[in-house]
Structures are given as structure tokens and as C-alpha cells.
Symmetry: C2
Subunit: 335 residues, 2 copies
Amino acid sequence: MHIDELPTPALVVDRDVLEANIALMGQRWPGRSLRPHVKAFKSVSMARRLAELGHDSFCAATIKELAGLAAGGLGGDLLLANETVDLQRLKTLLTEHQDARITVAVDSPETVSVAAQAGIKEVLIDVNVGMPRCGCAPEDAGPLGDLVRSTGMTVRGVMGYEGHLMTESTDQGEKVEEAMGLLLKAHDAVGGEVISGGGTGTWRTNQWVNELQAGSFTLMDTDYEASGTGFSKALSLRCTIISVNRKGGWAVADGGTKALGLDHGLPSIDDGEVLYCSDEHTIFAMKDAVALPKVGERISLWPSHVDPTVSQHDNLWLCDGNEVVDRWAVDLRGW
Amino acid sequence: MHIDELPTPALVVDRDVLEANIALMGQRWPGRSLRPHVKAFKSVSMARRLAELGHDSFCAATIKELAGLAAGGLGGDLLLANETVDLQRLKTLLTEHQDARITVAVDSPETVSVAAQAGIKEVLIDVNVGMPRCGCAPEDAGPLGDLVRSTGMTVRGVMGYEGHLMTESTDQGEKVEEAMGLLLKAHDAVGGEVISGGGTGTWRTNQWVNELQAGSFTLMDTDYEASGTGFSKALSLRCTIISVNRKGGWAVADGGTKALGLDHGLPSIDDGEVLYCSDEHTIFAMKDAVALPKVGERISLWPSHVDPTVSQHDNLWLCDGNEVVDRWAVDLRGW
């Protein structure tokens, strides 16, 4: 099928760029030193491709993502890199996927208690390394590890996400070192083999974790590209032009806020400027001397944030140039 | 089921508030003078409830929404209040729902041509009334109507969406009158019975259309509430607290940008302030003297924009107080 036969709006993945991104990441983080974060792409098919290349341990942000990976035969080493107190869903996950190895992050007595009640066997202590979100204080990691062990669960180690530094442009290396210093201090107190953290934005500067939690590097977005990660944009939203106002100087594409995550800004368009997005539309102008497209023509928008863009779609369409070569279901969305 | 038994994040609808919103709208726009816009709630069940109350003609932004309404037995008078050049999907829609009355908006020779080729019988001329998006220039409406008739299709009238005035706080009435003046001028040239337009934000000030295209009034959001529409917020995102940092003064709820449309701003929380949202989290502080919640407790977030919030969910959970009384599938999402 030709790319222009896809119903729009459609999320298109350039397979060559995707493969190059994965290969580049694999040079620095080979095999299981990379723990791909499925929250970015929410697709078992994508996870399977990563597993084929040796990256067969995964992390996830939701129990549903874990369940989907396990159901897809990818349950060898799964980490819920997020907190949960949902006893029922955790129990169901373990009951339905008894062969999967499932580790969960904990950062409080409550999350430890729920994990133990659910029958979880292994945890990581989630440590706050500077981003105001989850994670215990570094000094609380040791006692929390002791609490975990008192319940009979095993502490595999620690995780800490320096999310506040992902697109840091000034002295990123030093700031990551400082954040990871907190994680290593916690690890000293906690023990275990795993020091997990990092992401697409710190894949080159984080030298302290022994497994990198990255997902966005696969598909990429304009936000990560602008911060100089070295990966290339593989993901675009293919749209059809449904209206053109030549007097006003704008055109309207048939994908908007319901097809694009906008929390990192508007999408981009080559040779033009996106003026705004509404629910089902993106309105854009072209640069001087570049003609507006015609009604019925197709254009590509570059999303600013991969995760909340992909999660609004049912499919990723893999393309070699203009040829659609595969459909990967976005089968891990929702809760 | 008690509301606290819902897996989170969950979109919760206060049924009493919903019913009051619909009743209030129905006083000003009874029966078919209201053409509910399903893009806001994407649920056949919600549409069915509106139809029970006499509002049984609908408008939609996507062909998928039309197909879902028709399949749900609500095809009496459906309007695609948006442009399309997707001949294949339009043909399929007509083939699969031959009993439905389907009208589409057109604003260009290309959209007229596709409608005619697909076998569409009736159209509205979509007129630009000041918002930089779709719609032909008012002076082009007459010739476009002639073009439509030359293909054998019927022109039912005009539509024009004054979207740029929905939350206008200064002299909204005069500005709407000016915008609707353009629509009426176009209608003079086009003819037909229908003058369609307006929305939740102009339901009191728009006195010129004979059918109002409104959808957000049902569920509402903080953006429309702040602009003084008179409707009340029926929709909230129910979340569980998964982490609390008492020293830092924040708590973390388990729903973020993948559960909330943020293009109209952050969600709100009673007695507190949302600091930011990330993909799966909303981080918030409480006002002075209000204690942070505990891990495992539940809170409600008020979305800022209903449409791209609902479209990220599979279900709306209807509640009477704390009792979950119904589940309405969000079955019109996607494309």
C-alpha cells in the first residue's frame, strides 16, 4: 500500500530511521543494559522488535502495559517503573501471568504493603533524585529496603529518574552526576544488583546506572530532537488537507489535539509554521515563497511529544519511503 | 459499585449535573433546535440520552462518529460539521447506513466533488465567519451553492462556527452578531432551511442560527466554566494518590497527559493547585492549612478541556453521588 492510501490522520513510522535509532542506542546500551520503556510507544510489536535485537527486558508505567507485554510472550523481566496501590489489578496481573518475572517500584510503606499483599516477589526502591514526582528521599531508601525484606520480598536494587534533566542544555553531565550521586547513595544503603534510571535525554551523559530506562529514542519527537540527543525523528502524523484559505494564507490539516500530544508544544511542519491546533484540525501557514498545499494533498506533522501522541492512536504504520510495509497495533493504551 | 472501587484514572460523570446541564440547554434550544455535537463526548449512549429528550439530530467532526451514531439507531439527521475529501470512507458510510440521513459540510469545489462522487444527497455550505479554520468566504457561498446544485445534490442551508468567540468576555453579543451577519449574508445567497452554528460558549448570545451545534455543555470543563456559560462541571478525572512528598509539599495522582487534554491549561483540584502533569502523573500541592492526601486516597481533577480529555478514555462512569450507576462507552473515538 502506498502511504497516500492510508486513511488520515495516521501515525507513520519511518522504519529505516527507527532501526537506525535502535542501533545507535544499542551501541552504548547493548542487550539488557537497555530496559526499553514501553510507555513511549505502547506497542507489543515494537517491544518484540527490540527484544529481537537483544533488548528483552522492559519497563512500563501501567499494569496494563505489563499485562500486554506478558501476554505477548515478553514477560522475561518486566518492571513497573511507577508506583501503584491497585491491589486488585496487581493480583490479576500475577494470576494471569504466572510465568512472567514482574518487579515493581516502591517508594512508601503503602506501596510496599500492596506489593506484598498482591504476591509480588521482587521490587526496586524508587528514589527521588531531584524531579518533583515519585520516589522516596535518598535517606529513606535503606529503611524502606529493610521493610521490603521484612515482608519476604526481594530488593533487586534501586531506580531513580532524572526526568528534570532530560532536555537540560547547560552542564547536563554534571547535573546528572549529582542526581545519580543520590541514587548511588541510596543503592549503598539498599543493595541489590540493579541501578536503573535515565532516559532518552541522558543516554550519553548518564554513566552511573547499569540499565537505562529509555523509550522515546525509538520514535523521537521535536522536543527531544531540539535538545540534541542524536536520534532522528521517525514518527510523523500524516494528514490530509481539507480546507485552504489562500486569502488568509493558511491551510487546514485533518488531525489536531485528539491526534497529537501538545504538552511540549505545537507540532512542526517542514517549510511552514503551525499556527494552532484545535480538536480535529491543525492550521498552518507556509514560509514565504512556498505555496500552500491544495485541498486533498497530504502533509506530515512532526509531533512535539511522542508519548501522549502515540497513546491517542490505534495503529503505527511502518513505512519504507512511501510504501506502507507493516501495521503495529498500539495495543497497550488505556488502563 | 462505590466510586472508590473504580480502577483509576477514571472519567466520572455526575449524572445530576449532566441532567441539569441538558435541561438548561433545552430551555433555550428545545428539540431539534439543538444539534448536539458528539465530538465533545464521543459516546453513543450520551447521544441516545439526548435523543430521548428530543435532541435527536446530531453533528459530528469525523465520519467514524457518524457511522457510530447511525449504527446506534440515531441516524435520523446527521451532519458532518467538518470538511472531508475521504471518498472511500464517505462511500462506505453511505453503503453501510443506507437508512441514515447524512448531510456534509462543504467549503470548496474539491469537497463538493468528493461529496457528489460518494453519493451524498444533501450538504450545508460551510462559511468562514471569522475563525481562521474551515469555511468558504461569505461571498463565495452563493457560487458554491450553485456548484452543489449543478451536481444534483441539495443545499440544505449554511453553517458557520464562531469558534473564536466561544470564551470571549468583552461584548460577546455584538461580536457574535457581526459574525452571524456574515453567515446570514451567505444564507441569503445560498438559500435552504438550515442556519447552523454556535456552540456552548455562545448558547445565550447567538440569536441568529436556527440550530445550535453544542456538545461541551453536557460535561463541561474549567475553561468553559470560567467564561461564565452557566453550565456546571459534570466531568472529573478520578485518580488515586500513588506518592506523597510531605517535605516537598506535593502529592502525585495516577492520571496525567494521557488522561487529560491540556491544550486549554492544566486541570484543577479543589483546595489545591496543580503544579504540572507528566504522561501518567499529575503533581499537585494543597492550599495552606489543607493537609496533603495520603497514599491510596482518591482525588478528583477537573479537566480544562472536555473534548481531548474524553477522547483518551474508553469509558465514562456515571455516578449518583458516590454510587456508580452506569458505564457509557466512549465508542466514537479514533478515525
